[in-house]
């Protein structure tokens, strides 16, 4: 088979979006999909595989699979992944492939945000936002719909602002009431939007970016990087250029694909664990139950393919997750 038809697949299943990237043999991005997860990760992954198959044809061969994102384990079980990695590593790998020498990665996604500091191509420091979702994509989505604009218009409007208003960005609830107040005073929409961008960036740098040595080149990735208003606010606050890479929205998936490539080439693993493109048609089910083995009452999740249990997790003691042979594959891949 020609190398033209062989790909590495990277999948990033986050709370808001599910992204798939096909990486060709010359490290080129052949396909990049950005799908809304909409609370149905398993369904969305299958949808994504369906779309990919239509694009590349069923003769195409997937020679390695990497998963990342908050549902990385679920995705790994469904797909049969060769490597399962956290989002920090995946984003860092993608960024330093795309832009060797990158020293700072600003990443803002749907429900979380992170900062990654690299030196000489190696991660030396990172941070993720805590429980609070203030200043993430979901909040911007929410505010855009409240103001009756499309999220795509948000950034272009914000960069038109002449006098951005000052908005308290510490908490999304307070930010919202502050914004309403500014609207009622008659401030124009672009000024309010730009003010919100500045507040978000300030909040991000004070919380996630606290104590971090931010140096250029700086890459800005994640879904929110589509918003030029936020990018501009970052550039103003940091006093230097902020680069938005071409595939900013799917960098996690791209990193997972590179990690799969790394795993296959470095460890001489011959065959991928990928279940095949036909898994788009397979019937997957998830069910959960409370274990009553002890006072912890763990909520155990069970993933089934055609009635056969693929994996279980959620138990603290390993009573359920440890009983499956299939699960060994997942935990091996996780290492």
């Amino acid at each position: 088979m020609s190398t033209q038809n062989r790909y590495f697949l990277g999948v990033d299943v986050g709370s808001v979006s599910t992204n798939l990237v096909l990486l060709g043999s010359n490290n080129e991005v052949v396909q990049a999909l950005y799908l809304r997860t909409q609370g149905r990760p398993m369904h969305t992954i299958q949808e994504g595989i369906k779309i990919l198959r239509e694009q590349i044809g069923s003769s195409a061969e997937i020679i390695g699979v990497g998963t990342t994102g908050s549902a990385r384990q679920l995705a790994a079980t469904l797909l049969g992944a060769d490597v399962v990695k956290n989002e920090i590593t995946a984003h860092a790998v993608a960024a330093s492939r795309v832009r060797p020498g990158v020293q700072t990665i600003l990443e803002i996604g749907g429900q979380d945000s992170k900062i990654i500091i690299l030196r000489d191509g190696v991660v030396v420091d990172f941070a993720m936002n805590t429980v609070c979702a203030a200043g993430t994509g979901s909040f911007l989505d929410q505010q855009a719909s409240r103001l009756g604009i499309e999220i795509e218009e948000f950034g272009p409007l914000a960069v038109q602002a002449e006098h951005p208003v000052r908005i308290a960005g510490r908490c999304s609830v307070f930010a919202e009431s502050d914004m309403i107040h500014k609207q009622q005073l008659g401030h124009p929409l672009p000024d309010i939007l730009a003010g919100l961008c500045q507040a978000m960036v300030r909040n991000y740098l004070n919380n996630v970016g606290k104590n971090k040595d931010i140096q250029g080149p700086i890459l800005f990735q994640g879904g929110v990087a589509a918003n030029p208003g936020i990018r501009k606010a970052f550039e103003q606050e940091l006093g230097q250029e902020v680069i938005v890479p071409e595939h900013f929205a799917v960098m996690g998936a791209l990193g997972a694909a590179f990690l799969a490539q790394e795993r296959v080439s470095m460890q001489g693993q011959e065959q991928t664990r990928f279940r095949g493109l036909q898994l788009a048609e397979s019937s997957f089910q998830a069910r959960s139950f409370d274990c009553n083995g002890c006072a912890n009452h763990c909520e155990v999740v069970e993933i089934l393919q055609e009635q056969e249990t693929l994996a279980r997790w959620g138990d603290r003691c390993g009573k359920w997750s440890g009983t499956l042979k299939n699960d060994e594959r997942v935990s091996e891949a996780r290492a």
């Binding site: 010359n26 490290n27 080129e28 991005v29 908050s70 990695k85 956290n86 989002e87 920090i88 590593t89 860092a92 790998v93 330093s96 492939r97 795309v98 832009r99 060797p100 690299l118 000489d120 191509g121 190696v122 991660v123 030396v124 420091d125 990172f126 993720m128 805590t130 429980v131 104590n211 040595d213 030029p228 680069i243 938005v244 890479p245 071409e246 595939h247 590179f258 490539q261 790394e262 080439s265 002890c294 006072a295 912890n296 009452h297 603290r316």
Partner: protein, 354 residues
């Protein structure tokens, strides 16, 4: 007589002391069960919403004491060494958690204040003994035993013995079939000190003992880390070393535990055999808000990978796992020199420069 002892807060660093004291007085201590979901939920219901996770867990444990105890023991740990204090929330005990004590169960308390010196502590323990119907002499002998047990415990920990195994030993004492600590002392402990696999990275886990060893509250952090790293703790560092590493502070820290956390943390931050330092903290901890940042600055000066993990009752396992994995990946990729650059091809991956 059986007295209930909550498996929370001071259990995690001074249980051996109390095991020695009460054993000498012929009183049996009954420790509440290990934390589980029910214990935590009872704590959340009973404790003030504004307080920290460890106090909420203490409340839960008070509400989960074995039913056959005749009283509950709740000391007020004012200070555990000279010129320092415990944190304000600990000073507020036992009063702040009285609402969680099962109705009708008497509370036995004592002020332990090493700040005022050993004589004061002895006096307080004599008074406590009197309340329990013991003579001054008995109480004094119990104090000696308490100190000895605590010293044995600390030696065990310094020599690399794990928390669980050490505590299991002291929990077995004071029971009718307990053997007590033999005068032969420490010979049989230790040995396992810092000698496991060469391949695993060494991680220093710095945190209040009531978080570090509270495996339910910290979402099994220790076993997760142990699978992938060799761990060292605050307890492995000698007190003199701790003092040594705090010499350059402009003002001495007056929190006993904060001082130990920072001193031990710093000794690891400058130790070339330690690959990274994790500071385990909890939401709403006043003393940590200072010390975790002071340690962050020191770690950064020495280019030591450093991460703060913050727990509260809402902590999801996913968040902790992601952070721990990312931290270990960072260390591992750095160690094997796996620069992320290899194999890069400039072909079609560009960037938009608007």
């Amino acid at each position: 007589m059986k007295i209930g002892f909550p498996r929370a807060m001071f259990y995690y660093d001074t249980f051996p002391f109390w095991a020695g004291y009460f054993e000498a007085l012929g009183i049996e201590l009954k420790v509440s069960p290990r934390t589980n979901r029910e214990v935590l939920e009872r704590g959340l219901k009973k404790a003030s919403d504004e307080t920290c996770l460890p106090i909420k867990l203490l409340s839960g444990h008070l509400a989960s004491l074995p039913s056959d105890v005749e009283a509950v023991f709740l000391p007020r740990m004012v200070s555990i060494e000279k010129k320092t204090y415990m944190c304000p929330k600990i000073l507020g005990l036992p009063e702040s958690v009285l609402a969680s004590v099962p109705e009708g169960l008497p509370v036995i308390s004592v002020d332990i204040n090493w700040r005022e010196g050993k004589a004061q502590v002895q006096k307080a323990l004599e008074k406590l003994g009197e309340q329990l119907g013991k003579s001054k002499g008995e109480a004094r002998r119990a104090f000696a035993k308490a100190q000895k047990y605590q010293q044995v415990y600390e030696e065990m920990r310094r020599s690399g013995q794990g928390f669980e195994e050490s505590m299991r030993y002291f929990e077995g004492l004071g029971k009718p079939d307990g053997k007590g600590v033999s005068d032969a002392g420490l010979g049989s402990y230790g040995g396992s000190h810092l000698t496991s696999s060469e391949r695993l990275p060494t991680i220093a886990l710095i945190g209040h003992p009531y978080l570090t060893y509270e495996s339910y509250g910290n979402l099994n952090l220790l076993s997760k880390l142990k699978a992938k790293a060799k761990l060292v703790f605050m307890e492995n560092v000698e007190q003199v070393q701790i003092e040594d590493h705090l010499k350059d502070l402009r003002k001495p820290l007056f929190w006993s535990q904060g001082k130990r956390l920072l001193g031990a943390g710093h000794s690891y931050a400058i130790n070339q055999y330690v690959d990274g330092v994790i500071y385990l903290s909890c939401f709403g901890c006043g003393t940590d808000s200072m010390t975790q940042d002071m340690l962050a600055r020191r770690a950064r000066t020495h280019h030591k990978p450093y991460m703060v993990l913050t727990l509260d009752e809402h902590s999801g396992e996913a968040g902790v796992i992601t952070r721990v994995e990312a931290f270990l990946d960072m260390i591992e990729r750095k160690r094997i020199g796996l620069s992320n650059k290899s194999g890069y091809s400039s072909s079609s991956i560009g960037e938009i420069n608007r």
